[in-house]
């Protein structure tokens, strides 16, 4: 090695040493980087359901609260919540484990106790400006996340009832449009069936994401499957007609396109609940889940179902399905016309197909069925007699 290179190495080593010294001596480097707090990590967990955020929250809460006794009490609640969520994640991996279930239930009770500790220490006049409303909403979510999986979730129903009692009395949530309202309105009909309510509420949450997903793909399919799963459980376990109608509607919506027969069957089940019966649709679910929504969706699905029936040679079922909707006597003028036009369009195509196959008797029978739909429409609105736009 030449002398020049040796010198360069010497300079390099000296430089590295200096740099290291500077790093060590620099007081700014000694301070821990200002990062996220445990609440930020908790918020990130609720966004992503990534368990690593819970681990970070767990370690952050220890260092954050050591310096301030004033916040230590509040930290008891959050620390318990972190432990509870970790136990829940653990339980999800092995839902048949009795040990993990008991641990989860124990932590749920502990979390409820901590919540009450914090609740009773706050001045009632200041409760709206405290953490109690936020913690109440998250406590609901925490308990319902577990209740959707636990086989004996109904044992937690009294806790939810007590929390709801206080939350309603102290106006801790929006009674018309909030997550707590969604639980309260359904639990009022289904108490103490917390298992069914938890699955229905979860299906409703996921359905919003499912409808809002922009592109078809693996993500949307997984959402569809999840909505279907929880709605199925809800439909089997709920006792109220309104709750069942929501579950049936979600099943119909998720089956549409892939399993059209099942979708149509659930649309009928959903709508049949409203026949000869007045179901009160108030509160949180009323805007999105009511008879008009169900009918409008069924009418919107009818053309796809008619095409499916046509392609499978089930021509007579097209008219039968259209007659079912019209005979409900619940459709307005526009929906009636929509269904009628679809029935005529696919009916006439079916007649031509049957004639091409030389099945003339069946074609005649179908023609008589389609004839009734012409009478519903106005004369000049018949297909083929009017110019296009």
């Amino acid at each position: 090695m030449t002398t020049h290179r040796k010198s360069l190495w010497a300079y390099l080593i000296a430089g590295i040493i200096c740099f290291g010294v500077c790093i060590l001596v620099n007081p700014n480097a000694a301070r821990a980087q200002e990062g996220q707090s445990y609440l930020d990590y908790l918020d990130n967990y609720y966004k992503t359901y990534d368990v690593s955020y819970l681990m970070k929250a767990q370690s952050a809460i220890k260092s954050d609260l050591d310096s301030s006794a004033a916040l230590r009490f509040q930290g008891y609640y959050y620390n318990t919540e972190i432990q509870y969520l970790l136990a829940l994640e653990d339980f999800k991996k092995d839902p048949n484990s009795i040990e993990k279930l008991e641990k989860l239930k124990g932590l749920m009770l502990q979390l409820y106790s901590r919540y009450l500790d914090a609740y009773y220490r706050v001045d009632p006049a200041q409760i709206q400006n405290s953490n109690i409303p936020g913690n109440t909403a998250f406590l609901f979510k925490d308990i319902l996340m577990a209740a959707a999986l636990m086989p004996n979730a109904n044992s937690a129903a009294p806790q939810i009832k007590n929390i709801l009692r206080r939350a309603t009395r102290d106006n801790l949530y929006n009674t018309e449009n909030s997550f707590i309202a969604s639980v309260n309105d359904m639990l009022a009909l289904e108490y103490p069936n917390l298992f069914g309510v938890a699955n229905l509420v979860k299906a409703v949450w996921l359905n919003d994401e499912f409808i809002g997903a922009e592109q078809e793909g693996v993500f949307k399919d997984s959402l569809r499957t999840a909505v279907n799963y929880h709605a199925s459980i809800a439909s089997d376990t709920l006792s109220s007609d309104y709750g069942k109608s929501i579950a049936f509607f979600l099943l119909a919506e998720t089956y549409a396109g892939d399993y059209n027969d099942m979708a149509w069957d659930y649309f009928q089940k959903c709508i049949d609940l409203f026949q000869d019966k007045h179901i009160v649709t108030e509160g949180f679910y009323a805007k999105n889940y009511n008879r008009e929504i169900y009918l409008a969706t069924a009418v919107a699905f009818f053309p796809e179902y008619s095409e499916y029936l046509f392609e499978n040679g089930r021509y007579t079922e097209i008219a039968a399905s259209a007659n079912y909707l019209i005979d409900l006597d619940m459709l307005d003028r526009g929906k009636t016309e929509n269904v009628t036009k679809e029935a005529i369009f696919w009916g006439e195509k079916s007649i031509r197909r049957l004639q091409d196959d030389n099945k003339f008797s069946k074609a005649d029978e179908l023609f008589r069925q389609v004839q009734s739909f012409y009478d519903i429409l106005e004369p000049d609105a018949q297909y083929g007699t009017r110019s296009d736009n």
């Binding site: 200002e34 609720y46 966004k47 916040l71 913690n135 909030s178 997550f179 929504i293």
Partner: protein, 327 residues
């Protein structure tokens, strides 16, 4: 100091004490100017300097380092009296250790009791951090008041059981029992003076619901507009379209164009708004992308209002009375 009466002992002592400096052999000033050697020496000097600086910093960081005493070897004069008189070594006063500044206190930012804000699609964590910093500034004076409170109340008993107010209007036995039980918890958890006034809590509530439930705050628009607008667009673009009467009624505010690129235009706010239609998406009730309005440059709220208004007009025209009454 020892006096040597024996000359041989004194000589031996003298020889051991005197340090002889050996002159460098062969060193001439000229050779030092040699380039290679010069560079080597300069490099070595630089490295040495760095290492000294490092050593200084380390020692300064750890504590003061005493400068080593420098002992001077002095030649003992030989007196004519026959014994060597040792001249006492000059004791140099120890240099005062330099006062190293105390290491900077690493003050962790005091965590402030933060409201449980729920992140929604419009709020990200960085915004919450910014909000937290704002609250920290607001609450700083309150933290100081806590310290004052603690200092002033040290003489008081450690635990005070607070009185429980029992409301007279309705005495709920369960609640009264719970209140008493949690009063004990309250007292046990407090140290001195309580924390009621520790942090001023005057934060604005922030609880967007969709992060908890993932339900849009205004589902009304998405369901009704999605379904009702879908029905209207189906009526306009499938099979025979709208009737002549409907065409006449919509003259002046509705134009429908069917072909390779299906679209319709509606007069909204004095301007024609174009809506592109994707007919193949109409039958999929879980797909909202059956209509697109590229020319609209307003906010999402303004877009929702416009969609609702357009849907109302079309529902009114095409006879979707239930939709019209709901919108």
């Amino acid at each position: 100091m020892q006096a040597y009466f024996d000359y041989d002992d004194a000589q031996l002592e003298f020889e051991t004490l005197v340090t002889r400096s050996t002159p460098t052999a062969g060193a001439t000033s000229n050779s030092l100017k040699n380039d290679t050697v010069y560079r080597r020496l300069m490099g070595s000097f630089a490295v040495t300097l760095v290492l000294c600086a490092l050593a200084y910093v380390l020692t300064a960081h750890l504590g003061s380092a005493a400068c080593p005493e420098v002992t001077e070897q002095v030649r003992k004069p030989v007196h004519q009296a026959g014994f060597v008189v040792e001249i006492p070594q000059a004791i140099k006063p120890k240099p005062k250790p330099k006062e190293t500044p105390p290491p900077p206190k690493i003050e962790k930012p005091k965590p402030v009791e933060r409201l449980r804000s729920v992140p929604d699609r419009r709020t990200d964590v960085s915004r919450q951090l910014a909000e937290r910093k704002t609250r920290e500034v607001k609450s700083a004076p309150s933290d100081r008041s806590v310290n004052k409170e603690q200092l002033s109340r040290r003489a008081m008993p450690a635990v005070q059981t607070p009185m429980v107010d029992v409301k007279e209007e309705t005495l709920n036995r369960e609640e009264a029992t719970e209140s008493l039980r949690y009063a004990a918890v309250d007292a046990a958890a407090d140290t001195i003076g309580g924390f009621a006034d520790a942090v001023t809590e005057s934060y604005s509530r922030n609880l967007p619901e969709e992060a908890i439930s993932h339900i849009d705050l205004d589902p009304y628009h998405y369901q009704m507009v999605n379904l009702c607008l879908r029905l209207c667009v189906k009526s306009m673009f499938t099979h025979s379209g709208i009737s002549q009467e409907e065409k006449d009624a919509s003259a002046g505010w509705l134009k429908i164009v069917r072909g390779d690129n299906d679209y319709f235009s509606i007069k909204y706010g004095g301007e024609w708004m174009r809506f592109d239609v994707y007919r193949n998406q109409l039958s999929d009730i879980s797909n909202l992308n059956f209509v697109h309005f590229p020319g609209f440059g307003g906010s999402s709220d303004a877009g929702n209002s416009m969609l609702e208004e357009v849907t109302r007009k079309l529902c009114s025209l095409l006879g979707y009375d239930d939709c019209f009454s709901k919108l």
